[in-house]
Each structure stands twice: as structure tokens, then as C-alpha cells.
């Protein structure tokens, strides 16, 4: 008799067994995410902000780099908001999380996961956790590296001083928090999208337009976007332009709890769907 079967024979819920199963699935998924082509594409995407900051920090125009001319905090905030938050985090999460289930349906390998002694809800949870870990790891690294490059003009000792004694440390933590929460929020949404839709273009496109135009939305609708909460946590306020509907950013606690709550709700819906799901593959 195997260990697993003994646990079942005892009839009790065996938490150690469950932990081994979920841990096994998380590791399997992590390996799939970090040791395949997907990781290369994500790695390249996460290198983009680093490259941009490096460019604006090292190439002088009229004797001054962009970082020096406009101030390194404003420049970084702009790059983070427009490039990272506005494109890379969104599409990076779309790429990974949409394929979490859709990829396995297309490759016709999803049934293997539904034939192991694990509740389907836990299959969703484990795959999602692994993907959050993988994506957040790469994007957090991107955030840290790109942020460090804004200290090019002030050198190593200037960087240390700003990070420890100045506001630099607090800002970096804020950027990292936004990165992680973006992965959590967008990740949950795209996991659901991948479960329901064969083609991501319409749902993801609609969501993208909604997110990008959120600054035009009336205050009540702003609350229904992910980016509203993410932007509220950014450390350096920038103007959204003359047409923006300006509201107070929500308190950080509201943003954090709101995004975690959103992820929980969306994942619950996903779990309900997978519970009823049939494996046919034919439609694809």
C-alpha cells in the first residue's frame, strides 16, 4: 500500500498529503513556466524597462541625459506607468495566465491534471500560485534592476544614501508592491479569460481599452478597474492630462484588499467553472 492510499483508507483529511500534492503541482508548473520558451519571452519583456532606463540614463542629449534634465524620480515614474504598468505587466500576465488552462487545452494535456486525486479547485489554485510566483519573480527583478539604474547620475554612494535615508527605499517598495498586485489581479482575470475564451483578443482587448481609458471614467466606474488601485499606490503623482476625471487615490489598504478580494472572487468563479468542465478538446 502506498502512503497516499493509507491516508485515504484512514478516511481522515491528511493535510501533509494535500500539501505534498499542491506543492508538487506548483513545482511542476513553475518548471513549465521558467524552463520553457515562455520564460524567454517573459524575460525579454521584463528586460525592456531596464533597457529604457539605461538609455535615458546614459545617453546625453545637449550634454544632459533625460534622467538629469527631468529628474530621475519623474522619469522613472513615467516609464513605470506607461511602459511597465501600461503594457508589459498587462500583456505579460495575459500571455502567461491566459495560457495557464487554454494552453493545456490546446495541447490536449489538461485531462492529466484532472485525473489526479486532487480537487479541481486546488488545481486552479496551485497553477495560479505558480504562475504568480514565476511572473512576479521576473517582473520584480525587472523593477529592481530598472530602478537601480535611475541612480546612474548620482553613483553608488548616492544610491545607497537615497535608498536608506531618503525616499528611494519607500518608492522602490511601492513599485514592487504595485508589480506584485498587478500580477495577482491581472493574473486572476486572465486565468478566468483563458478558461472561458478560446481567443483572447476580444476580452483582453476590451479590458485593455477599459484600463487605459480609466482616467476618463466617472469616479464610480473607476472603482471597477484594476489600474485605478494600482496607480493609487504609485509614489510620484503625475498628471493624466487635461481631460482626466481626477479623484483622490484610494487608501493603500483599500487598494491592496480590493485587489486581493478581486482575485479571490475571480478565482472562485474560475473554480466553479472548472468543476463543471468537460474535457472534449474537439471544439478547439
Amino acid at each position: 500500500m502506498t502512503v497516499a492510499r493509507d491516508a485515504v483508507a484512514r478516511g481522515g483529511r491528511d493535510w501533509a498529503l494535500l500539501a505534498r500534492q499542491v506543492g508538487g503541482l506548483v513545482r511542476l508548473e513553475l518548471r513549465r513556466l521558467l524552463l520553457t520558451r515562455r520564460a524567454v519571452i517573459l524575460g525579454l519583456a521584463s528586460a525592456v524597462p531596464v533597457a529604457i532606463v539605461l538609455l535615458v540614463g546614459s545617453i546625453p542629449i545637449d550634454g544632459q541625459t533625460v534622467l538629469e534634465r527631468f529628474g530621475n524620480r519623474t522619469v522613472y515614474e513615467t516609464i513605470f506607468e506607461t511602459v511597465f504598468l501600461g503594457a508589459i505587466l498587462f500583456f505579460g500576465c495575459l500571455y502567461v495566465f491566459f495560457n495557464l488552462f487554454r494552453g493545456e487545452i490546446l495541447e490536449r494535456s489538461l485531462h492529466y491534471l484532472l485525473l489526479v486525486p486532487l480537487r479541481r479547485e486546488l488545481v486552479v489554485a496551485a497553477k495560479y500560485l505558480a504562475a504568480v510566483a514565476a511572473v512576479a519573480l521576473l517582473f520584480a527583478a525587472s523593477t529592481v534592476f530598472s530602478y537601480m539604474l535611475i541612480y546612474l547620475p548620482v553613483g553608488f554612494s548616492g544610491a545607497i544614501e537615497d535608498l536608506t535615508a531618503g525616499p528611494g527605499g519607500r518608492h522602490l517598495v511601492a513599485y514592487l508592491g504595485v508589480t506584485l498586485l498587478a500580477c495577482i489581479g491581472y493574473g486572476a482575470l486572465f486565468t478566468l479569460v483563458g478558461m472561458v475564451f478560446r481567443n483572447p483578443i476580444i476580452p483582453a482587448g476590451a479590458l485593455y481599452v477599459w484600463e487605459m481609458l480609466h482616467f476618463l471614467l466617472p469616479p464610480a466606474l473607476k472603482k471597477l478597474s484594476v489600474i485605478h488601485y494600482l496607480k493609487g499606490m504609485l509614489p510620484v503623482p503625475l498628471s493624466d492630462g487635461p481631460f482626466a476625471v481626477v479623484v483622490e487615490p484610494p487608501p493603500v489598504a483599500v487598494s491592496v484588499l480590493g485587489l486581493l478580494g478581486l482575485a479571490a472572487v475571480v478565482l472562485t468563479v474560475t473554480a466553479l467553472i472548472i468543476r463543471r468542465m468537460e474535457i472534449r478538446y474537439t471544439e478547439d
Binding site: A4, Q21, L114, P117, E278
Partner: protein
């Protein structure tokens, strides 16, 4: 209340009394429709330990039935329990249930070893135990030496066997194997059949499907014949054979769905054993009555091979035991 209902109640009580439901696969009035398309209809079965074969022509509902057992499909109607467990609780079921599907697909990039090993870990085994069971399963299907090659480079037969290894690796009490002998060369086929015998000898359930009766009749303890979604017979092969031989002389009705039914009808009438041909109203097929189904089906196979006609489906028009059995017996004479 009617007498029938009482009898049914007594039967149920009896089943519980001897614990039959807890040691068998039980389907009660199970139907599955894909929209309007019938998968299986009104299936009532109790499958006991040993080797049971599910035999029927292509498209008769074998995979549908097996997917229902594994919970990959949900029945439109009816109930299924396996060893007394509902199929909606994977956390209980799959410690004891192994399923080898008909899907010829694998996680991308995996070697044979990784494939078996990684899903074993999901059963909650520790690594040592998982390694031991992986090695044993690969040994049993004769893939130990190819274990560290990528599945993408395996032959069809090797892919069949690695799926088999994956399905039996955690030593389930119940093994459901969808056309596991497909694509195996004769040597390997014999070894695989021997493996089924061993597994069944250990007191396990082995349910295998096939569209070729003679491929499985000798190795099975029991055969279930399925046609057009209906179970048409269930029992031991010699009994079926005897029942069928009596009516061997009667003509058999066959249907063909194809692109040129009119032309095929013309060809069929040239055969003296074809007594009646009827074109389908939708122009997409025909029914015919023949005293020599074997020769007619051989003709169809030849015409298809020559490219004269494209055939979508061929089968016995009636779903009674005689028709299905004789149709399936024909297939054994045809190299498939």
C-alpha cells in the same frame, strides 16, 4: 406501487447486502448527449473485477462511456459510482482509478520518465516512492530503456505504452484503458495482453475498449458490446457466439454514410448477395441488406482505397446482438 418497483427495491437492497456497489463499477441509467448527438443512451451496467472488454464499431460510444467513468464528461442523465465512490470527487476516486485516454497527447517536452513521475508526485507520494513506482511502471510496459528519451520522439506504440504506464503507475484498483492495443505490433501486443492478465490476476478491474472483437475476446473475462450508443449485449463470449451462430444465415442490414451514395448503391447491386438498397433521404448515405456482409464491407474498403468514395461511417443498421456481433466479427478478418 407496482411489482416491478418492489422487485427493483429488493434488488438494490440485495446489492448493498453483499457490498457489490463497493467493489464494482456501477452505472445506472446513464445517458450522455453532445447537444443533439447521442454519445451513449440508458446504460445500466455493473462491472466486476477481472478483464472486461468494451467492444463496438468506431463511434459507438466507447470513449464517451469511459470519459464518463473518469468524470471527464458529465452524464446528461443517470448515476455512476466506482467502488462506491461518486465520480465527482477526484480527491477520493483517483487514488484507486487509473485512466488511459484515447488522446495521443502529452505535456510538451516531457521524457517518458518525467511524464510518469511528475503526475505520480501529484498523488502525494514522496519522491523515493514515486521513483520506485515510475521505474516499476516503465518496466511493466517494457519502456525502461527508453525512459529518458522525449515522448515526442516515441513511436505510436511507445506512446500507447507510456500512457499505459502513466495510468497504472500508482497501482490503482481500477484501470480503464481506451483502445490500449491500438498501434502495437504483434510482439508488444502479446506482452501487453500478458500485462492485463497479471493486473487482473492481482484482483483489479481492467476495463479495455476495442473496435476489434477477436483482439480481446480471448483475453477477457467478460465482453460488453456497444453499438450506436446502446449496450447490446453483455456476458461471456462463447455464449454470445452460440446465440449468434443460430441466426448466421439471416441477412444483415448495414448502413454507409458517404459522399456518393447513389454510385455506391449501383456498385452494391452488382453483388448478388445484396438484396435491398435504400438511399437516405438527405442524400448522404444508404442502407442495404446483404446475405454476405463480409464481402460487401470488403468491397467498401476496396472502393475507399481506390478513392472512389469517401466514407464517413459504416456500421450495422440494427443494434441487436446479432447485427453488432456479426459486424464486429467481420472486422477481425479485415486488417485494420
Amino acid at each position: 406501487m407496482s411489482g416491478a418497483a418492489t422487485a427493483r427495491g429488493a434488488l438494490d437492497a440485495d446489492r448493498h447486502a453483499v457490498g457489490r456497489d463497493d467493489s464494482n463499477i456501477v452505472l445506472r441509467d446513464v445517458s450522455k448527449f453532445y447537444g443533439d448527438v447521442l454519445g451513449v443512451n440508458r446504460v445500466d451496467l455493473v462491472i466486476e473485477p477481472g478483464i472486461t472488454s468494451l467492444v463496438g464499431p468506431n463511434g459507438s460510444g466507447k470513449s464517451t462511456l469511459m470519459n464518463l467513468l473518469a468524470g471527464l464528461l458529465r452524464p446528461t442523465r443517470g448515476e455512476i459510482s466506482i467502488l462506491g465512490l461518486p465520480v465527482t470527487r477526484p480527491q477520493d476516486l483517483f487514488h484507486r482509478f487509473g485512466y488511459c485516454t484515447q488522446y495521443d497527447s502529452f505535456p510538451r517536452g516531457a521524457t517518458g520518465w518525467q511524464f510518469v513521475f511528475s503526475y505520480l508526485l501529484l498523488h502525494g507520494l514522496d519522491r523515493g516512492e514515486a521513483e520506485r513506482l515510475t521505474a516499476r511502471a516503465l518496466e511493466r510496459v517494457g519502456l525502461a530503456r527508453s525512459a529518458h528519451r522525449r515522448i515526442a520522439g516515441y513511436s505510436k506504440g511507445m506512446r500507447q505504452r507510456i500512457k499505459l504506464a502513466q495510468a497504472i503507475a500508482h497501482r490503482p484498483q481500477i484501470m480503464v484503458l481506451d483502445e490500449p492495443l491500438n498501434g502495437l505490433d504483434p510482439m508488444v501486443r502479446a506482452e501487453t495482453i500478458e500485462l492485463f492478465r497479471q493486473l487482473a490476476g492481482e484482483g483489479q478491474h481492467v476495463l479495455i475498449s476495442s473496435h476489434i472483437l477477436h483482439e480481446v475476446d480471448l483475453l477477457s473475462d467478460r465482453v460488453i458490446l456497444i453499438s450506436n450508443g446502446y449496450i447490446v449485449a453483455e456476458g461471456e463470449v462463447p455464449g454470445m457466439r452460440a446465440e449468434v451462430e443460430e441466426v448466421r444465415e439471416q441477412p444483415l442490414q448495414v448502413f454507409v454514410r458517404c459522399d456518393r451514395p447513389q454510385w455506391l448503391a449501383g456498385r452494391a447491386f452488382e453483388l448478388d448477395h445484396v438484396t435491398e438498397v435504400q438511399l437516405h433521404d438527405d442524400g448522404g448515405g444508404l442502407h442495404l441488406r446483404t446475405r454476405d456482409a463480409d464481402r460487401f464491407l470488403r468491397l467498401v474498403a476496396e472502393l475507399v482505397a481506390e478513392g472512389g468514395v469517401e466514407v464517413e461511417a459504416v456500421g450495422p443498421a440494427d443494434s441487436d446482438l446479432q447485427a453488432v456481433y456479426r459486424y464486429l466479427v467481420h472486422e477481425e478478418e479485415e486488417p485494420s
